[in-house]
């Protein structure tokens, strides 16, 4: 076992693969076992990730709101969210009397599944992703838009006007902002000439796209952050929930674990959009390199790739949390105006400039 083993998830995965290969001779059985292991590992790590994000959000909120936040259960309050989950597990999952019971119970699972699916092509470390599909960018953007189905189902089946209003808002919002998210993704696709996430990361070996792509890449990055915050229904774009207007919007009628599912999906979505932003604009797991400063680049290379990826992702998560806890909420018509009158035209002009840069080879 060499030193690389400790730092590289790829080596670890290959090591487990070899162990299993020796133990199980049947190839079909081997594949099923491996898929099961990946699935279980993914579920567990996602739940842990969401626990961490939940704790982080509370602490960040407390930091912004001059208070302490959870600090009693476990070290620094890290286990508070576990305690809350246990409480939610014991709560009765009420189903409203006149609701469409099948859709009502299905909706939270659709939302969670849609967000979990989008995690497949993400590269968590050097050459380490669940399935580096060759159309990764398209896959993520199409799968993540499935969650609007779940939200509409939840709003429709609840038999509650607040829920329905929330779901309608969410539908209008997600469909609109999908365009800007897509166009900013295309900017990077055009620059790198690739739709596979692995290839896009490799194309940033000598510099991240946010630096290489001049100002258009920065514009695309900012639009991506704004539009994807709107797409995952987080403040200041949380109109679908809007406690003060719709008393919780589409999840008004949900309780217990079904409600927790929506929370889980929200945090997974938060992680995915941040990870996508980190992958496309900030080079994913690529270390920070400066031109031909050999020794500086060497030092940067020593930091494991998984830490680079997580570091970048969490910086973006912090930014998204930051404006959740400082901005008021937009109104529905202002929200749609922002997209159709500002973000979309800017994205369209931006994409023309990006294409020009890519054709002329002006980027570094």
């Amino acid at each position: 076992m060499n030193r690389i083993f400790l730092y590289s998830f790829t080596e670890m995965a290959l090591y487990i693969h070899k162990l299993l290969e020796n133990a199980i001779t049947n190839t079909v059985l081997l594949q099923i076992t491996e898929l099961a292991i990946i699935g279980v590992t993914l579920l567990i790590s996602l739940v842990i990730l969401c626990f961490f994000l939940g704790w982080m959000e509370r602490r960040v909120a407390a930091f912004m709101e001059i208070r302490l936040g959870p600090n009693r259960v476990g070290p620094q309050g890290t286990l508070q969210i576990v305690a809350d989950t246990v409480k939610l597990l014991f709560k009765e999952g009420l189903t409203p009397n006149k609701s469409d019971k099948f859709l009502f119970n299905l909706a939270p699972f659709i939302v969670v599944t849609a967000s979990m699916l989008a995690i497949a092509p993400l590269a968590f470390a050097k050459n380490f992703s669940i399935y580096d599909i060759n159309i990764g960018v398209l896959y993520v953007s199409s799968v993540s838009s499935l969650s609007v189905l779940g939200i509409l189902m939840a709003g429709w089946s609840s038999y509650n006007k607040y829920s329905l209003l929330g779901a309608m808002r969410s539908g209008a919002q997600i469909v609109s902002y999908e365009l800007s998210v897509g166009l900013s993704l295309i900017a990077i696709v055009v620059l790198s000439g690739n739709v596979s996430l692995g290839e896009i990361i490799n194309s940033q070996q000598n510099g991240w796209w946010i630096f290489k792509g001049h100002i258009p890449a920065i514009i695309a990055f900012v639009i991506f952050i704004i539009a994807s915050t709107a797409e995952i229904n987080r403040a200041p774009f949380d109109l679908a929930e809007a406690d003060q207007e719709l008393t919780g919007g589409y999840n008004t009628e949900y309780s217990g674990m079904k409600f927790a599912m929506f929370l889980l999906a929200e945090y997974i979505n938060l992680f995915i959009v941040s990870a996508m932003a980190a992958t496309l604009f900030l080079g994913g797991w690529m270390p920070f390199h400066i031109g031909d400063w050999e020794s500086f680049n060497k030092i940067m290379d020593y930091i494991p790739s998984s830490i680079w990826f997580m570091g970048k992702t969490f910086i973006i998560i912090f930014i998204i949390m930051w404006f959740r806890w400082t901005f008021p909420r937009l109104r529905i018509d202002q929200l749609l105006n922002l997209e159709w009158k500002y973000l979309l035209p800017i994205s369209m002009v931006n994409i023309i400039i990006v294409t020009l840069i890519a054709i002329m080879g002006w980027h570094f």
């Binding site: 006007k161 809007a242 406690d243 003060q244 901005f327 008021p328």
Partner: protein, 374 residues
Amino acid sequence: MRGLIEEDYTTQEGEFVINIGPQHPSTHGVLHLKVWLNGETIIKVQPHLGYIHRSIEKMSESLSYRNFIFATSRMDYLAAHINNEACALAVEKGLQIEAPPRARVVRTILAELTRLSSHQLWWASTGLDLGAVTPFFYAFREREAILDIMDETCGARLTQNFLVPGGLMADIHPNFQKRTKEVLKQIKENFKEYDELLTENVIFQNRTKNVGILNKQDALSFGVTGPTARASGLSCDIRKWAPYSAYSMVEFDEILDEGCDSYSRYMVRMKEMRQSVNIIEQLIDNIPEGDFQEKTKNVIKLPKGDFYQRVETPRGELGVYIVSDGASSPYRIKYRSPNFSNLSVLPELAKGCKIGDLVAIMSTIDLVIPDIDR
């Protein structure tokens, strides 16, 4: 009360009715708004009252002139001291006595502290209603300090019950002046944070500018008072027009704004907080020595007749009307509460707005529901 009695509206194709309240986060209490909607657009709003009616007026008829004052703490619970002051002044008017100078100045200081704390809570909940949670905690930081001063001097944080006809119930705490000055210093520094968090925020300005236009004529004919009316350019500050307690001794500005929208209502209150600080600063070092209470009989009996006293609460003009038949308790009491009249204008303001605007309008009118129902 046009909006309150029309029940004859029939729902058109594509419209639906939604009940906001009586248990809803942004009605700040048990107000029930029946709202006719077309999608997100409001066709009509109809307030339904009475969920927290405790018949304080009827109750007062069986209470003595000393006791009925304290029932009013539960009307506008954010300005309990100012309600008490109105009642005490009305009884004093009937007895034809005046509180000693020391009591008058302390009453004014406490009233302005109450106004500050009330406006701070309003600022906190305005942020909350518009989706910004953080301002809440910043406003509560200073509000806590003010309530601590109240606690020390009056013995209670929210329903102070510190006034009796003829003056104060007790003398002020020895720490009162020192702590008030400390808190004022802190508050003046923290106004900057208030502006950074909410006032200068682009989203906040977009949410409130040109939302809920209340023109001067409507404000006058609906009987709107307080900062809500002053934001429509209607000069109606009782502290200026009919000075009571120590307001004739201090210099301050009546804040007027011609904007007529939610943002100007917001700005009027923000500037009023600064004026309150200004008033307290003028008085805090000049509290006259002497008695804190005028001597009154054990059982107060007002002469036959009717007496009216009005004061400026953080939400507008509060009037106390006492009819006396010469007995030891009032024959009839009527309160003219600012919130009831201010609420009556809500259906006019909300027409044609979005649901989000309704919340913004409600929070800038600054409704306190127990004051509406009494």
